[in-house]
Symmetry: C2
Subunit: 333 residues, 2 copies
């Protein structure tokens, strides 16, 4: 690949996370499906916040977590996502830039517009996270927010599936993918969530078959995409259509498919899982960092596993440790 200004451009919902511990009974009382992401309106956001425990605020957003991960690995990421000019928007922008991510999307301009998005994340005693997202300003992502120069100057454009929940964001994504193609860049897609796949199955199937170079999915998502009963059945389907697929399986590690390639990579050894928020995002970070450095697919998967293991060892969806140093410890690239 020719030298570009950025390795990975991530496009997604710009969200500040509010993390709190919660028992399973709390999820049941409030009608949540454990481990999933639900879209909620402002009234429900206030209601849940009033009832949940003390929170810890940190910047999140699936693709933004990936961008922060790429930076921590020593890569050169950029990000596009919509915030408002409010306290949470300032926190989001500060944290992303302080992580080393190029972020220049102009925020909405104030009180008349929807507030910066927040995601109320309930972390269960078994470390699973259940997410409740109030999208707010994210619903205003427009094609004009896609900076052509940044797309052309990024080796891979990485898009989170969550964006499909908003019609206008979809136009923005289509524009980004088209520009990337025209410039000879790669397009990667994360399926994000099994329920999100459920809402957009046909479109996602077409995308994966015809428009995407690399697809990221966990076991539930890839099964949902093909209405498959087993992981293997889904695997055979995606294998028939996709250039590269990186499929994560939690403690079972990941499976990576390429043209005439299939690798089964065990999970990194680790002691305690504290909070699984961000596991998939950081796997994608490690994988894409390796990919844009020209590494083979098995190495990309291993890098994904190392980054994911770090993020689930603590509260929050962005790396705390210096991933570059961590990777250097594990193996010299």
């Amino acid at each position: 690949m020719s030298e570009t200004r950025f390795d990975v451009l991530c496009i997604g919902n710009a969200i500040v996370d509010v993390l709190a511990h919660a028992e399973d009974s709390f999820l049941a009382t409030h009608g949540m499906v454990k481990g999933s992401m639900a879209l909620i309106d402002e009234a429900r956001a206030h209601h849940l916040y009033d009832h949940m425990g003390p929170g810890l605020e940190c910047s999140g957003g699936s693709a933004a977590n990936t961008a922060a991960g790429v930076a921590s690995l020593g890569g050169r990421p950029a990000y596009i996502g919509k915030t408002n000019h409010d306290t949470l928007g300032e926190i989001f922008a500060h944290d992303l830039r302080a992580s080393g991510v190029h972020f220049a999307t102009s925020p909405l301009s104030g009180k008349a517009d929807p507030a910066t998005a927040r995601c109320l994340i309930l972390v269960s005693p078994d470390a699973q996270r259940t997410m409740n997202t109030f999208l707010g300003a994210c619903t205003r992502l427009r094609p004009e927010d896609i900076d052509e120069a940044v797309v052309r100057e990024s080796q891979v454009v990485y898009i989170e599936g969550y964006l499909w929940d908003m019609p206008e964001a979809k136009d923005a994504i289509v524009k980004a993918a088209r520009l990337a193609r025209e410039a000879g860049r790669g397009v990667a897609l994360s399926l994000s969530d099994a329920f999100c796949v459920d809402r957009h199955r046909d479109e996602f199937q077409t995308l994966v078959a015809d428009h995407v170079d690399i697809v990221f999915a966990n076991e539930d998502e890839i099964k949902s995409l093909y209405c498959a009963d087993t992981f293997d059945a889904a695997l055979q389907q995606v294998r028939a259509v996709c250039k590269v697929a990186a499929l994560t399986r939690g403690a079972k590690g990941s499976v990576v498919l390429g043209e005439n390639e299939l690798h089964i990579i065990d999970a990194e050894p680790m002691s305690g899982v504290v909070d699984t928020t961000g596991a998939g995002d950081l796997y994608a970070a490690g994988f894409l960092f390796g990919y844009t450095q020209g590494k083979d697919l098995a190495t990309c998967a291993r890098l994904g596993g190392i980054a994911a293991a770090e993020v689930i060892s603590h509260f929050g969806a962005r790396p705390e440790a210096d991933l570059k140093g961590l990777v250097a410890q594990r193996f010299s690239l």
Copy 2:
């Protein structure tokens, strides 16, 4: 003591913490004294925030951390402190109430008034924290914010020394202490910070000698109070004037003085120290919880040590574990 509605009323600066990792070189570049608390204005707050790493926001404030600790131990705390009606103010109030603390101080009403306070906390690789506080709305704590009924209905009123940095807050504190005395309640004071003691040495000496039942201080603070060269020299001075003094010494544990009593309590065994933010606040929580349950001074000190050990084992200044359960594991009260 007669039955009251609350065990401990904590009064202090209502602050949201922004925690970030920082190397010692960052502290040096920005002229900070490692381990101390500095008051900063809004311009410096913006400047430091622009230059520091990605943050993690969580509710803080010394006395508020103590109140949250008392709640986690199973006690009945109340809190008085001033916020604004803004995003950080809402976060502060939510977290405190969700922890089980009674908090009914009316916030300032908007943009014309100073914003809710924030404290930029740089955590060094050796787990020490260096604090930069923009006081904002805290500077507006007034005598009318002191709810008489709550003071009368609390066994102990606990005041943080940081309040002395604001003349009007001092009037509020004097009112609270007077009301507590009239109702036959105890008054406790934390010296908060060696530099804070330096700014108010004469007043603090008078308070400790004449108006306070329990004083909390770490080694630097008690030495600063009496301009003493050694811990022992400071110990002899405070012993001559104070009813109860609880002196914390980090890894060396704590020393507690009462009338004709002196106890030396070793630190709780623990593995890794992650972030010392909140150590003193949680020690006070454990101690005051025991004290208001009628426990002997040595037991109070041990409870303080258990609560402090929990809070320094993770990022942030409030307990993550259920302290009541932790204490039950260590010894049955």
